[in-house]
Amino acid sequence: MSPPPAIALPAESVAAAPTLPDLWPPVKPLRGFTGFLRRHPTVTIGAALLIVMVLIAVLAPYLGTVDPTTLNTSRRTREPSALYWFGTDMLGRDIYSRVVYGARVSLTVGFSVAILASIAGLAIGLVSGMVRWADGFIMRVMDGLMSIPPILLAIALMALTRGSVGNVVMAITIAEIPRVARLVRGVVLSLREQPYVDAAVAAGTRMPMIILRHILPNTLAPMTVQATYICASAMIVEAILSFIGAGVPPTVASWGNIMAEGRALWQVKPFIVFFPAVFLSITVLAVNLLGDGMRDALDPRLAKGL
């Protein structure tokens, strides 16, 4: 694309205007990947923290941990020390090992829910946005689902199934789908009025191709941002479910479970609750920072406001 022809200005008015370097110091454009990271520090911080957490989860067996399910009744509720970095719980299990392995559960649930809810929400949103006769019905159902507070919906679903990581993922996913579907539908409704979609229709492009080439790519940016927020909220909901006894089975070392076990003793042994709480908060913060940064980077109009 060639730049538009410059408008010819009278020579004296150009000369009278102060030159830019007098007003601003020259700005070095930040280009490339490192430039992107420097322009969006929240993305950098969020991504860095998240990578550390992922590494902790992946490398859990090599980080000086012992089996997080080993019971030892002779060393119950020890304070943190050189031997037991984060102390031991009521059953004598090493809290450091349990917290490190707990990262696996939280991240698995967070990422799985984000991906599954995005895919399902995308499909429902696309159908609702493109198929007019289905729109009213689908959106009423989504409105109804959205009227049930997500945590309660997940609690109700978990009360009917056996506690397992897979069931927790399914329960939280179902609770999150309506939000994605609504977002995608809104984007699709505005996209289908775009001239380039009309042009594609006029050119005889088939509907599946229009969706694939012209609609879908434009939903990806807002979807990605939404997916990070879903990931963050899924990790919190998982911890809440486990904390109140409706989540993953108590034998699994998850941050919510460790806190649930520490709940009875928290006034005398606050460290049992403290360490998983810190890890959970940092992880959720990392994902939220990443989401905020990506929203700013992908949608500069929104960045100004929120």
Partner: protein
């Protein structure tokens, strides 16, 4: 206007119907025999059969649903499997603490969040703005029970300013009632404050760019009337909207907050019901909270016309 109120009110009926249908169908969507799941792993076949009978699960789906809806319309939510009390009675016994907690949290959040949101918008780009927005993102990220334990640890256990746990009915005096609710309300309010402050700031930034704000400045009005009279009033619609949407966060958070602070409300009822697999109680609580949520948002929709006279229906 009146036709709008009527139309908008009627529009909540299909939403509530979907909620009811969904909450009811959960029993059948879940994999496996619902009676066996509710009975638990140690149940004998006789137990399973008893639960199947008491929930009426041996009848066709449509018969069960119409029967259940009919009773629901008469405010009958069935009986608890565990205590055999009517679910409505059990809910009524537990409503006060939860309602108190939510009202106190709601008021506290609005009183804190709106001014700091306005402040952030006024001082946009400065360190004050960044600090407030930083706290907001922290508020989104730290789960409610973590805030709850931290507050209880410092202000109740260490400093002994406030009671650690428990609840006092409002009938025993205003201060004893409030004293027990301060820490839970702050813990529960964190996410909510973050949400409202963020939207307030965004809405204010939008309004502060309008021509009439420049006019108000040009005619020499002081900063405060501009911010709170001219700007905030016109920014109120998105703020009120998010307050309504945020009630869902409040409801979910209340269940957890009550268990951290040992408040005997609906959250505790839910918790006990989960442990006992008392499904009618869970169903009742979920339905109640969902209907409250729908009705609050209905009220807020109707409020728009008062806040912004330009909105005509």
């Amino acid at each position: 206007m009146l036709t709008y109120v009527a139309r908008r009110t009627l529009a909540t009926i299909p939403v509530m119907a979907v909620v009811a249908l969904f909450v009811f169908s959960l029993l059948f969507i879940a994999p496996g025999d619902p009676a066996a799941v509710i009975a638990g792993d140690q149940a004998t076949p006789a137990d399973v059969e008893r639960i199947r009978q008491s929930l009426g699960l041996d009848r066709p789906f449509l018969v069960q649903f119409s029967d259940w809806t009919w009773r629901l319309l008469h405010f009958d939510l069935g009986r608890s499997i565990f205590t055999n009390l009517p679910v409505t009675t059990m809910i009524a016994q537990r409503v006060e603490p939860t309602l108190s907690l939510m009202v106190v949290t709601l008021l506290l959040s609005i009183v804190v969040a709106v001014p700091i949101g306005v402040l952030a918008a006024w001082k946009v780009g400065t360190w004050i703005d960044r600090a407030i927005m930083g706290f907001a993102i922290l508020g989104f990220s730290v789960p409610v029970f973590v805030v709850g334990y931290l507050l209880a640890f410092f202000f109740a256990l260490q400093l002994e300013w406030l009671p650690v746990q428990g609840y006092t009915p409002i009938a025993r005096g205003l201060w004893p009632w409030l004293e027990n609710l301060i820490l839970p309300a702050i813990a529960l309010g964190c996410v909510y404050i973050a949400l409202i402050a963020r939207i307030t700031r965004a809405a204010m930034l939008d309004v502060l760019q309008q021509d009439y704000i420049r006019t108000a400045r040009a005619k020499g009005l002081a900063q405060r009337p501009i911010l709170f009279v001219h700007a905030l009033k016109n920014a109120s619609v998105p703020i009120v909207t998010v307050i309504g949407i945020g009630i869902a966060l409040l409801i979910g958070g209340a269940v957890v907050t009550e268990s951290v602070f040992a408040i005997p409300g609906l959250g505790r009822l839910t918790l006990d019901a989960i442990l006992r697999r008392d499904y009618p109680v869970i169903q009742g609580v979920v339905l109640l909270f969902s209907f409250v949520y729908v009705l609050v948002n209905l009220a807020i929709d109707l409020l728009y016309t008062l806040l912004d006279p330009r909105i005509r229906y």
